[in-house]
């Protein structure tokens, strides 16, 4: 202790005893914070139920990976690394902060060697955090990364608020450093044995600067530093719940309670089984209270980093949707209608006030936003819930009403007759080569090939069906199709909010699948794949055709002719095969098994793949956009140096082939489905019945 340096608690600040002053500040600050936190908790208590307390160990694992491990942050390296430093700094300094506050003094937990090591570490932490604040402020003010920009329709910019927060944290660091530096400078002046400060740390530098200051100046700085730290600390504590910095408190919870079952959709109401849905008065989210408490927590937890919108395909082409602002607007609504001071407001319809109908219909459910968010904020469930609400009120765009009505009457969005569903198998040349069994009248098969609507009825996509059938045939699979009994998987029907129609399709298909006796299901349509795997219950295991082909290739049952020398292939990961179901490697291993395959990767691949524009009902929707999503994707392929895009989804194929024309790349770029390519390149055995001659690519 420094001679004459009374601790802040023992000093007198103006006319108040330090001890009293700080007790007041702490109690007041804490009380304020608790009051604010209670107010913030209020809407969550009125919210819909959510099931988030199950599998606690798995959840803890997520906390370790994403909260402690900051797993998602390095995806944007500059901001990511800096945040990791700041976050680490915060954790390390937490002990310091508490000891300062509780101790009313500078008696840190400096007992023994551990204590001294901690002190050194935290001094560096303070330094790093401080300079990170400076770097971040410069970044915001000078370099202005695009994803932080606020389009005018969403209000004024957030830069001022961001810099204000950065400044506050910087002040916190500075105050602490001055507090410490001043004391040590005084100690040094008095010739006392110095508690060494970490070399080149901020306190160290300040100590150097203060070395020559007068004793009283140092004492003032000492006391002032503590007060400043205290006030800033509690100000921040109470200020954070008013903005994006609330994530400091809520992130732990938003990550702990994050969704574990990817690819699944939230049911209409947790805890209400399908049979009881008739009793639910209102479907979906219409007012703010209709959100679940976890979704509201998500609104609080958004850090406004903009990574979601930066990766959103709808946003990139100028559709009204920006995931970031979906969250920010909801959060602002919550702050306004559930204010800390004042009365809670009544439920206002969200669609028509903070959201527009087109905004919510614009989403392709690709999941890129959810993939990027460092706080594991969920979007798809919210969009689907908002759509459920609109469907419940009859607010469906005219362009979608026709296919929905057709799905209801005919089981497919085109309104084509059920009895024509298997017509694709009857194409003359194909039929001579490969007879596809239709599993009707009690016929059964070991494997069911679930074809789904687009492949069955679309003239172009029928080729995928035929290629798939040929492949299954060639590897000796005992398979069949449901034919007229197969209805649309209902994948997009569900994601567009028509839950009851989806259930009707699901139940009808489930029955037909059971009747087929199939032990496993294979499909070439990732949307059907996702639906059968995640939306349906009690089905035999489902596989995508690429997984099957990969396995057969590995087992040596499929080999290939060499690839075309002047073709450069790139593989486009379909959202519902890749991102939602993590099937990235199988399609690639299949392609790489083709001798002489010249394959390049697009910059955006695997879980960063860029959606083609969406499938199912999205093909019927008429969005307001500046350009087509597919066109952007095709340009990415061209940039990667490819002239053939390989994809594994009929909707991707539709959008990409269309985009090639619109982008003016006809003749320079082609698209082919994985099944079509495999079927083309496959080496066929020459049988005694002199089957089709082997022909290469």
């Amino acid at each position: 202790m420094v001679e004459g340096f009374r601790s802040p608690a023992e000093s007198t600040y103006w006319w108040i005893q330090g001890h009293t002053l700080f007790l007041m500040i702490h109690l007041l600050g804490l009380a304020c914070f608790l009051y604010i936190a209670a107010k913030r908790l209020r809407p969550l208590l009125r919210a819909q139920a959510d099931v988030r307390f199950d599998r606690p160990l798995q959840r803890l694992g997520k906390v370790f990976q994403f909260w402690l491990g900051q797993w998602r942050h390095p995806r944007y390296p500059a901001a990511g690394v800096i945040h990791i430093f700041v976050f680490a700094g915060f954790l390390l300094l937490a002990t310091r902060a508490f000891s300062l506050i509780l101790g009313f003094s500078d008696n840190s937990v400096s007992f023994g060697l551990m204590g001294r090591i901690y002190d050194q570490v935290r001094e560096y932490a303070t330094t790093v955090v401080f300079f990170c604040m400076v770097i971040l402020a410069v970044r915001r003010l000078v370099f202005k990364p695009a994803r932080y920009a606020v389009p005018p329709k969403f209000g004024r910019g957030h830069t001022g608020d961001a810099v204000f927060l950065l400044a506050l944290i910087a002040i916190l660091m500075l105050a602490d450093s001055l507090f410490e530096a001043s004391k040590l400078a005084a100690q040094a002046q008095q010739g006392q044995p110095a508690e060494a400060l970490a070399f080149l740390s901020l306190p160290w530098m300040l100590e150097g600067a203060l070395f020559a200051a007068s004793w009283s100046t140092l004492h003032t700085i000492y006391l002032g530093g503590y007060l400043a730290h205290d006030l800033t600390f509690f100000f921040l504590l109470c200020y954070r719940p008013f903005g994006i910095q609330f994530h400091v408190e809520t992130s732990l919870f938003s990550i702990f309670f994050a969704k574990l079952d990817h690819g699944t959709l939230k049911p209409v109401r947790w805890g209400i089984p399908d049979e009881q849905l008739d009793q639910v008065k209102s479907f979906g989210v219409k007012t703010f209270d209709d959100f679940t408490w976890k979704h509201m927590l998500d609104f609080y937890s958004c850090a406004d980093c903009g990574r979601c919108s930066d990766n959103c395909p709808a946003n990139s082409v100028g559709r009204p949707l920006s995931p970031r602002f979906l969250t920010i607007k909801a959060r602002d609504y919550c702050f306004t209608h559930y204010p800390v001071v004042g009365k809670a407001g009544n439920g206002v319809a969200l669609i028509g006030s903070i959201y527009s109908e087109d905004e919510i219909w614009s989403c392709t459910t690709c999941g890129a936003c959810e993939q990027e968010c460092p706080l594991l904020v969920e979007y798809i469930d919210k969009i689907v819930d908002l759509r459920r609400g609109m469907v419940d009120e009859g607010k469906v765009p005219q362009s979608l009403q026709k296919p929905l009505k057709a799905l209801e009457s005919r089981g497919n969005p085109y309104g084509k007759m059920e009895k024509k569903k298997a017509d694709w198998t009857k194409a003359k040349e194909f039929h001579d080569d490969c007879q596809v069994t239709i599993l009707d009248s009690g016929k059964t098969a070991e494997t069911l090939y679930f074809v789904d609507s687009v492949t069955s009825y679309d003239d172009r996509m029928q080729a995928i069906g035929r290629a798939t059938a040929k492949i299954l045939d060639r590897v000796g699979t005992n398979f069949g199709i449901l034919g007229a009994a197969e209805k649309d998987s209902g994948h997009e029907v569900r994601r567009f909010g028509e839950e009851i129609l989806f259930m009707a399709l699901r139940d009808s298909n489930s029955e037909a699948i059971k009747a087929s006796g199939a032990q496993r299901i294979v499909t070439a349509d990732p949307h059907a794949y996702n639906a059968l795997k995640h939306d349906y219950k009690d089905l035999p295991p489902v596989e995508h055709i690429s997984e099957l082909i990969a396995r057969e290739v590995k087992a040596g049952k499929i080999s290939f002719h060499p690839a075309d020398k002047d073709k450069v292939y790139t593989y486009h990961d379909p959202c519902y095969l890749g991102r939602h179901n993590h099937v990235y490697d199988d399609p690639r291993s299949v392609l790489d098994a083709i001798p002489g395959m010249n394959r390049v990767e697009m910059m955006r691949s695997r879980d960063r793949s860029f959606c083609c524009g969406g499938g199912g009902l999205m093909l019927f929707y008429e969005p307001k956009e500046e350009e087509r999503i597919g066109v952007k994707r095709v340009q990415m392929a061209a940039e990667a140096g490819a002239n053939v895009i390989v994809t594994a989804c009929p909707f991707c194929m539709t959008n990409i082939e269309d985009a090639i024309k619109v982008a003016g790349l006809e003749g320079k770029m082609t698209a082919i489905d994985l099944t079509e390519l495999v079927e083309k390149q496959m080496v066929r055995e020459v049988s005694n019945e002199s089957e089709t001659a082997v022909h290469g690519g």
């Binding site: 469907v391 009120e393 009859g394 469906v396 005219q398 009505k405 057709a406 009457s409 007759m417």
Partner: protein, 263 residues
């Protein structure tokens, strides 16, 4: 305002392939899906929008059988307050005049300020609305594409006429209007909505309840009767250009140039 909308269940033109049956005397009815006549759906939506603005109820009624109840339910799921099935074996074979006669009897059992029908149904007749109006001695307007309620006594309407022009009229209530497609954007009716109205009882009224003289309805009274369906023998039709696309493009260019198509 009490609004009655007369609706009809028809084979959906976009979800069916209308073809002659094997016997060649009727259309193939085996695999048909039915829905509400598109024009009638616009009429119901219009009625719903009117009562949401000024209050009142919407009643949907159809002349048909049990199978036709489903469109009544669908429109009730959309928001119509009442649904009525007007059914009797004696009605079978009625022509448009007969249907109008039946509807007139129904209308006179209630009190409706406004009666809407669609401009036409799948047979393209466009007759029932106008006939009903004349029988009731109500004013009539067809091809209505906009309705503004002036007061309890009159409406301001617009009719779709040639050239995209609109003919503005004032019409006294009660009246009959036939509604053109595109007048509004009908709301969506989901399966959930239909389930919710699945068990609402729909009253059925027959000839005795309506006090109808059997001579005035049904096949015996019908002056118009469809004899058969047929697909006309293909006339000469177009000269179909044959060949590869390149060849066709060449040929077409020559033809277009010859006919003065290059300006």
């Amino acid at each position: 305002m009490e609004i009655l909308v007369c609706v009809r269940r028809v084979p959906d033109t976009s979800e069916n392939e209308i073809q002659l049956n094997a016997a060649g005397n009727d259309i193939e009815r085996d695999d048909l899906v039915y829905s509400i006549n598109e024009w009638d759906n616009y009429a119901v939506e219009e009625a719903l929008q009117i009562v949401s603005r000024i209050g009142g109820t919407v009643t949907v009624a159809t002349v048909g059988g049990e199978d036709d109840e489903e469109v009544l339910r669908r429109e009730m799921a959309m928001g119509a307050t009442h649904g009525v099935l007007i059914s009797d074996d004696a009605f079978a074979g009625s022509d448009a005049r007969g249907i109008a006669t039946i509807l007139k009897a129904f209308v006179q059992k209630g009190k409706y300020d406004l009666i809407l029908t669609g401009v036409q149904a799948e047979d393209g007749g466009a007759l029932v609305g106008g006939m009903l109006a004349a029988m009731l001695d109500y004013p009539f307007a067809s091809l209505v594409n906009s309705i503004e309620v002036l007061d309890q006594k009159a409406l301001k309407i617009s009719r779709e006429i040639a050239g995209g022009n609109k003919e503005i009229n004032e019409i006294d209530l009660p009246c009959v209007l036939s509604i053109q497609t595109g007048i509004n954007e009908p709301r969506y009716v989901g399966m959930r909505g239909i389930r919710q109205v699945a068990s609402i009882p729909i009253p059925t009224l027959g000839a005795p309840e309506l006090g109808l003289d059997p001579q005035s309805i049904g096949v015996s009274a019908a002056k118009i009767q469809r004899v058969d369906y047929f697909t006309p023998a293909m006339g000469k039709g177009a000269e179909m250009l044959q060949g590869s696309r390149e060849e066709i493009v060449e040929k077409l260019f020559e033809l277009v140039a010859a006919k003065g198509g290059l300006k």
